[in-house]
């Protein structure tokens, strides 16, 4: 543990302004610390993994293929999102399946909590566009979602209003750290942290497609049971929908025809009108993950690395920022996510 940190005079350098770093900067700035957020990309952040994210805030759905710590941190994050951005929509999420994937649907229901099984009438009441499409669904009433490309600049603005300095287009190397007692570096670079030898990290490709149609309207994300991936149709503004995402053990950034077919047919299975939608964007991001696919806050003296958020960046970033702040101010340790050198 670091014992020589002076809680209210700490000078914090956060490296990487993606979702993990944005929340760290916001949390520390709001707590009155002297924060500088460094980002090698421009303010548009088109190179960031966050740019390709779905922005699902679905801690209970995620329990299907994640360990309990994801749900615990995710549930805490929901409160922090509400507090930071009160207009964040919490309309819940719907989980539906094609009749042939019924066994996987039942498995999903068994492995998750905080949901209600609802019938066709209730589905139509929640999402009129889906009337008659599904016999039943799982409704996770407490979940939410954000639009990553809107929310990221808003978080930067909040951090700046709270006193953080933000330096875009700036390369910052951890070696630059001057070992002043109150200088703390929080490294949130994701995969780029490998350049400094974090060899446990790997990239997991997630492909997504954005389509546009005014024939379908959804007010919450719809998850379609798929034998391999968690696939969501997430409503964005302007009649747009994001369909994502695959999860492939590859660091290739291309989108395969097979993945595109699977993503588009998922949308079509949710509503046939998606067949007429316009394809607006196809892309892929590489999520930084450790072998256990769990997030890690690694503490080594004045340097703290927050990484491995995998598919759960928007879900976990607020809770991880709170934990890091708790450590710096009070020495609080969370044994599930923190590793001390």
């Amino acid at each position: 543990m670091v014992t020589n940190l002076k809680p209210h005079a700490a000078s914090i350098s956060v490296i990487g302004a993606g979702i993990a770093g944005a929340w760290q900067a916001l949390a520390f700035a709001r707590a009155g610390h002297d924060v500088t957020l460094y980002e090698r990309d421009s303010a548009a952040m088109t190179q960031a993994t966050s740019h390709w994210a779905g922005g699902m805030l679905a801690p209970w759905c995620e329990a299907e293929a994640s360990e309990p710590v994801i749900t615990r941190l995710g549930a805490r994050s929901l409160d922090l999102w509400r507090e930071a951005l009160p207009d964040t929509p919490f309309n819940g999420s719907l989980v539906v399946s094609h009749p042939r994937d019924r066994a996987d649907f039942d498995r999903f229901a068994k492995l998750t909590t905080h949901h209600a099984r609802i019938d066709a009438t209730k589905i139509a009441a929640l999402e009129p566009a889906l009337e008659g499409q599904f016999r039943d669904a799982l409704f996770f009433a407490d979940e939410g979602h954000v639009e990553p490309r809107d929310v990221l600049p808003r978080l930067h603005d909040r951090a700046a209003s709270a006193g953080a300095a933000i330096a875009f287009d700036t390369n910052w190397q951890p070696d630059d750290l001057k070992n002043g007692k109150n200088n703390i570096v929080i490294d949130c670079r994701g995969l780029a942290a490998r350049e400094d030898g974090d060899t446990d990290l790997r990239g997991v490709k997630g492909e997504m497609i954005v389509v546009e149609t005014d024939e379908v309207s959804l007010s919450r994300p719809v998850r379609l049971i798929h034998p391999r991936w968690p696939l969501y149709i997430i409503p964005r503004g302007d009649n747009r929908f994001m369909i994502g995402a695959t999860s492939i053990e590859s660091e290739d950034r291309g989108v395969s025809v097979r993945s595109a077919l699977e993503l588009l047919s998922a949308a079509y299975a949710v509503h046939p009108a998606f067949a007429e939608a316009r394809i607006v964007e196809i892309g892929a991001g590489l999520r930084p993950a450790y072998p256990d696919n769990l997030p890690r806050i690694a503490i080594d003296g004045q340097r703290i690395c927050v990484n491995g958020l995998y598919r759960h960046g928007f879900l976990l970033a607020p809770a991880l920022a709170e934990l890091t702040l708790g450590y710096v101010e009070r020495g609080a340790i969370d044994n599930e996510v923190m590793r001390c050198a």
């Binding site: 790997r202 590859s250 660091e251």
Partner: protein
């Protein structure tokens, strides 16, 4: 010991590397299963051979024999090309040959399979063909030069267990010198036991372990199931009979009990 194409193994549980919640859980499950042979899907996980080195090193760390799999290939040419890619990538002549007829059922295309097996064996591959329980198909695969034949128990990922026990039994009886592995469709350790009790040499599993609520614990359960079934086969199972055969003498049993 189990001998497959000249290599010896003590474990009779072959395991797949897909669908786990994380690579760490995959590694722990494979260790818990005691498996020495791990199948790796060439198509899905390589994306033009650019798979993250990180993922491969996690498989290599296990020190297992890798059995590349032409998963999802839909034609002879595609399967043959994928097999050659796998040979380059993994530096092995072993190939699990899947030629899929139909995307819904993932049913093997047995005609294409025999054709592809012929091509690959001639090219020096040691082929593990995934087929149905049809005897004539298995014989054609043997004629092609396959020393291992891998019939399904039921469709991939269905977890239904053995749906044609007589068909699998017939294969065992008629192909005594061929290594037979039940591949696909097993959902419970009892299914794996049943396959081993029929005299099968091994079973191959993926979904039933990877998608269990606790994959590592389920891997251990399948390990026990396979071992129990194999031990029972070697011990000599009793044939089923129509009436109970008392294990204690009935002499001395009051007649009103004996007739009930």
């Amino acid at each position: 010991m189990l001998t497959l194409y000249g290599k010896q193994f003590s474990s009779r549980l072959l395991i797949g590397s897909a669908l786990y919640p994380s690579p760490k859980i995959m590694q722990d499950s494979i260790r818990a299963a005691g498996s020495e042979i791990v199948t790796v899907s060439v198509r899905r996980e390589t994306a033009g051979a650019k798979t993250g080195d990180a993922f491969w090193s996690l498989i290599r760390e296990l020190g297992v024999t890798v059995l590349p799999n032409t998963a999802g290939c839909k034609g002879v040419r595609e399967a043959v090309t994928t097999a050659k890619l796998a040979r380059e990538l993994f530096n092995t002549s072993w190939i699990k040959l899947e030629v899929i007829a139909d995307n819904d059922t993932l049913q093997p295309d047995v005609v294409g399979l025999v054709e592809a097996a012929n091509i690959l064996v001639k090219d020096g591959f040691e082929v593990f063909p995934y087929c149905t329980e049809d005897l004539s198909v298995a014989m054609r695969l043997v004629d092609a030069g396959c020393k291992v034949v891998m019939p399904w128990a039921s469709p991939i990922g269905s977890a239904k267990g053995i749906t044609n026990r007589d068909g699998l039994k017939l294969l065992r009886d008629r192909l005594p010198d061929i290594r037979l592995v039940v591949d696909a469709g097993l959902g419970a350790p009892s299914h794996a036991s049943e396959a081993m009790e029929l005299g099968y040499d091994a079973v191959l599993l993926n979904t039933a372990i990877a998608k269990a609520a606790d994959p590592v614990a389920m891997a251990g359960a399948f390990k026990s199931g396979v071992e129990a079934g194999h031990a029972a086969f070697k011990a000599g199972l009793l044939g089923a009979r129509d009436f109970a055969s008392p294990s204690t003498p009935v002499i001395g049993t009051p007649f009103w009990h004996a007739v009930s």
